[in-house]
């Protein structure tokens, strides 16, 4: 089943698009995970990254590629992506927990300290998550970036929280 048929991507599609992140890079701390596997005319992510970690090039329909070693995990690219397709995953958050940061444009906006249900790419509830950070500066242009802490084993699946 592909994104074209079901509306969400599989891990294999990330690998095919060369957008998967290596275990070694994950071990070093937070990293941007780009999940944009179709050739669409779009490139703000490339411009958003000041560290040259995202490459689209020409033509503009090339798939975005992450140079994982250049990524500092700053998170600046998340709110700039009109596809809301970039996440920041930190598998080193604690002994047992990882964090996933994602754009969240619904109301109410989660608040730090709250418990929300964490969902995967199809919106299925995976586990409970604790909101550990919410950023919404002017530069994000009304796309809040929410960070949720979850048990480590769900780090590759959780991509949002369930709307309240």
């Amino acid at each position: 089943m592909s994104i074209k048929e079901v509306g969400y991507i599989s891990h294999q599609e990330l690998i095919d698009a060369e957008q998967d992140i290596s275990a070694e890079r994950y071990a070093k701390g937070p990293v941007a995970v780009i999940e944009c596997v179709q050739e669409i005319p779009c490139n703000p992510c490339e411009d958003a990254c000041k560290f040259g970690a995202i490459y689209v090039g020409s033509p503009i329909t090339n798939l975005p590629k992450i140079q994982e070693d250049n990524c500092t995990g700053c998170g600046a690219c998340l709110a700039r992506c009109p596809g809301l397709a970039i996440f920041l995953v930190d598998k080193t958050y604690s002994e047992t927990e990882a964090t996933v940061a994602f754009p969240y444009e619904y109301v109410p906006t989660p608040e730090v300290g709250e418990e929300w249900e964490a969902v995967d790419r199809q919106g299925a509830v995976k586990c409970k998550g604790k909101i550990v950070k919410v950023m919404n500066p002017k530069a994000f242009d009304r796309t809040p970036i929410v960070t949720v802490a979850i048990p480590k084993e769900f780090a590759d699946e959780v991509r949002s929280v369930k709307r309240k």
């Binding site: 079901v6 991507i9 179709q38 669409i40 779009c42 009109p82």
Partner: protein, 371 residues
Amino acid sequence: MLTRELLVIGAGPAGLAAAIEAAKNGVKDILVCDLNMKAGGQLFKQIHKFFGSKEHNAGVRGIDQGVQMLKEAEELGIEIWLNSAVVGFFGDKIACIEQGQPDGTKKIVYMQPKTIVIATGAQENVVRFKGWTTPGVMGAGAAQTMINVNRVQPGKNIVMLGTGNVGLIVSYQLMQAGCNVVCIVEAAPGIGGYGVHASKVSRAGVPIYCSHTIKEVKGDGPDGRVSEVTIIGLDEKWQPIEGTEKTFEADTVTLAAGLKPVSDLVKLQDIEIVFNNAFGWVPVHNDKMQTTAKGIYVAGDTTGSEEANTAMEEGKLAGVSVAEELGYITMDEAKDQRDQIWDRLRGLRTGPFGEKRAIAKVVQMGKFPVD
């Protein structure tokens, strides 16, 4: 009779870009007419960040792009008449305009401009099924106007038909407005719009049923409003498969089954039109966006529904060509500018989503008579 160097019909991204580019190249005395109360065309309903490149203001919300363009138009002294529809064309480029008056009434005025850019956009296709006239069944564009311009919910529980970008984006925005999207139904075997848009609604738990269509809508709600929607699976030949029905409680159905160009005005000037599978009936034009009628240009969704960025680029082409026709820039200067614009346009029309449109455009332009 009134006259202008350039009359632009439609103040969407294509029309505004045409007016701005013409003005930048020296054209004076430009008028843009729009039948809406607000300029900006589709942009003012689009609260999401746009795709594209830096040159196309990618990442900027549609609504903010509209504001930017209006500011630029104002700075360049471009006149805009709102609430003013062009309702007819006579003889040699005589436009009949229903000019909106400050007191809300309308006055008919006639104008014979030297050049015209038609940028009237597109309109939604209708889909018929049992119960399609039930109150609560509406176009996705109407629902989008309700939530993003008028700030009212079209309903609580919504079934969306169509997975093009319009269907996907409006579904997302309905949820942002606090509605519940029950499901999205698509007759084709695959999702039509961008995967990243589909992923947004999937993450929100909205199921997408491909190879399905709406079989029936029941109107047992208050005042005969939609109460129930039954969908049915389709085989490879798009025929309903009995026994695959699913029924959902819903009070609203929104239709996003594609757009077709608004080309009534084009037809009134005996401009040649051509049919193609990607766009429907569209005016024949050349690489200057000139139609088969001298002095009349087209741009944007009127020439085949695409995107705001392609609409703006086509508008720019038309604006440059108008300046050339009126003698403000030389043939070479115009060609230089157009070459740059065409480079960007070709870039936008690559990839699996753009190729079909690129080919359709080549065919459409190929019909232009060579002299």
